[in-house]
């Protein structure tokens, strides 16, 4: 993955820029699809495709062969329908009261999380638009419980006229392969499948796919892996990085041990140092917890974030970096080959998912690749 130079016209405008590789996203999709086959591979594109842009990402995934998409909210489904007229689009947050006709109008497929969801969907006839039956098997989030499952299995009339595409559940601890809940949820899911024989099934997110073929069933629903994030807390990242983030240096300062850096005077250099003030801050998603903790890279050299992160600015110690690489207008890599997203997340005290989904609207975005992969 090669980050092109920023367009000249952007030079005056943006303090930081984001480069998103559609080639990497397409390649990651194909990698997961190969791991999960013969199960189908859908894609979680909720939250603006994890912050990377719903339209370009969804089109890229569709070109790579994806036909099944998951969003969280109805409004996200409407947006995706305008982008991909023929895709199967599932709305994870279920069917709010009075919304069934709206789902049908946009051919959106609800994930039915409760018996009232199911009743509402049945009542409108659903007109050939499939739905998912979602069960909670161990994280107490959305979905029916074992009691509702028993009720449903004993009363087939509740499903009359409703086309169920998949039986679904969601793993709580798949990012920790050794966690006992994985096997417990798998067993609970298999008991549900026994209640509804012949119904296609879907359990795995990205981390679930990596747990092995027994977790893949008929459909997998990766998210983070598509976007190049490592889904597991340990081990190497099997996916291609899809995101690079660069902040522009606005000013260089020579400071000394008598100076403070940033709000609250939390950082004082140990001696003479050179500080680069960069045009990115927590309003852009460079989280405040990265102050005195995060780091960037210039020419492969690690440069620590010093002082608190401001709303629109932060400072890096660039002592020892050649001046031609850190003059005003030069860039600091904040996510990329030298700064994996997982390392940035660890420095921020969070996970790569939160880093991605809070990348801000002021970042200049560019997409590289055709989404066709190599």
């Amino acid at each position: 993955m090669h980050a092109p130079d920023a367009p000249q016209s952007d030079a005056a405008i943006h303090g930081a820029r984001l480069v998103i590789s559609l080639d990497a996203i397409a390649a990651n999709y194909r990698k997961i699809a190969a791991l999960a086959a013969p199960a189908k591979t859908g894609a979680a594109v909720k939250a603006d495709a994890y912050g990377l842009g719903l339209a370009p990402v969804a089109r890229c995934l569709a070109k790579a062969g994806c036909e099944i998409f998951f969003v969280a909210h109805f409004a996200e489904g409407v947006a995706l329908r305008a982008i991909l007229p023929d895709a199967h689009v599932y709305v994870l947050h279920g069917l709010p009261i009075g919304a069934a006709e709206k789902y049908i109008a946009h051919a959106l497929r609800p994930v039915l999380n409760s018996l009232p969801d199911l009743a509402a969907w049945r009542s409108v006839g659903s007109r050939g638009i499939g739905a998912i039956l979602n069960f909670d098997t161990g994280m107490s989030r959305l979905g029916m419980g074992s009691k509702e499952a028993a009720t449903l299995a004993a009363s087939p009339g509740l499903l009359a006229g409703v086309q169920i595409d998949y039986l679904m559940s969601h793993l709580s601890c798949a990012d920790t392969p050794t966690h006992p809940l994985n096997a417990q949820q798998h067993a609970a899911f298999n008991r549900l499948r026994d209640l509804f024989p012949g119904m296609p099934a879907s359990l795995a997110n990205t981390a679930g796919v990596l747990l092995g073929p027994q977790y893949c069933h008929d459909l997998v629903r990766p998210g983070i892996g598509l976007y190049g994030g490592c889904p597991a807390g340990t081990g190497g990242n099997p996916f291609q990085g899809a995101v690079q983030l660069y902040a522009k240096i606005l000013q260089l300062r020579d400071v000394d041990s008598t100076d403070y850096v940033g709000y609250g005077a939390t950082y004082r250099p140990g001696g003479p140092a050179r500080i680069a003030v960069a045009g990115i801050g927590y309003a852009d998603g460079y989280m405040r917890t990265l102050g005195n903790s995060g780091f960037g890279a210039i020419g492969g050299q690690r440069v620590p974030c010093v002082g608190r992160v401001s709303m629109d600015l932060c400072a890096f110690d660039v002592s020892g970096v050649p001046e031609e690489l850190c003059a005003p207008g030069c860039e600091i890599e904040l996510i990329g080959p030298n700064v994996p997203m997982e390392n940035a997340a660890a420095a921020a005290g969070t996970i790569n998912y939160e880093i991605l989904t809070r990348l801000g609207s002021r970042l200049a975005r560019s997409y590289i690749g055709e989404g066709t992969g190599t």
Copy 2:
């Protein structure tokens, strides 16, 4: 401040909603203006008016009498110019190489942070558009240092033909009134003023205004106080709350001590409990650090956030809340009269500024009041 009911048409669409009181913002502006008078009162509207929406907030502030606005980036200035054709708009991040003509084309006033910034502005003639001379007096962020100040004072030709509206600096520790850096920066700023006699001056942000009239000079530049945030780490909040955040309950679950809540199985109820799953997550700005730490309110009763916050969902323990207040479709207050933004920020391990600036684009936004205040 009264939050109106969500429009019915939104019921199927949004998982959470944000109510922004323009009346409160206008009242906060007038309060600060009264405190700062005879200094003028500008407004920091960078970062989309601290996440609350540049257009409605800027119009509201202009109606309340504000004529001077501060943004961080050139692109923000262009956006604001389209909203307020006659306002004085200052761009804090200075003048990138080659950008001077663009500033003039949009009548944007640069904050000149270096001698090269000044030279670039001088070279285009600036054609009657004023600028600010910014000096760093103790936080090693943007601005000229004491050496540049001396150079400039000794070489008036460097300012020839340039209209300087204000001499400016920025306080590092104004949120801690007793911090010794406040007086040090104030003294350093006064030494700068002595170098440029007669030049109007601007030092204070919201917290600076609260430090007293000696910090207000000719122009103050509040941000957080306008938006109802308490600018200081201690003491009461002198400003009116301008933001209310409500998440919709999607599902209620009865759980017990054998159940886990959320990813990673980090929460287990001590006994029978009722969990409300709400349609907001860290992608919406409900920060991941609020898991097992934050809280909401229903009918004035505090409800703790239990388990990890997911990307699009999180869970609250609503045991004991009357069922008619926590049924699916009901709302949990996450910021508002019962949950001050500062408390949410403290639970998240951050400051109100970061809470505001990360409020996400999926939140349904509504504005109340005419921006005329009461």
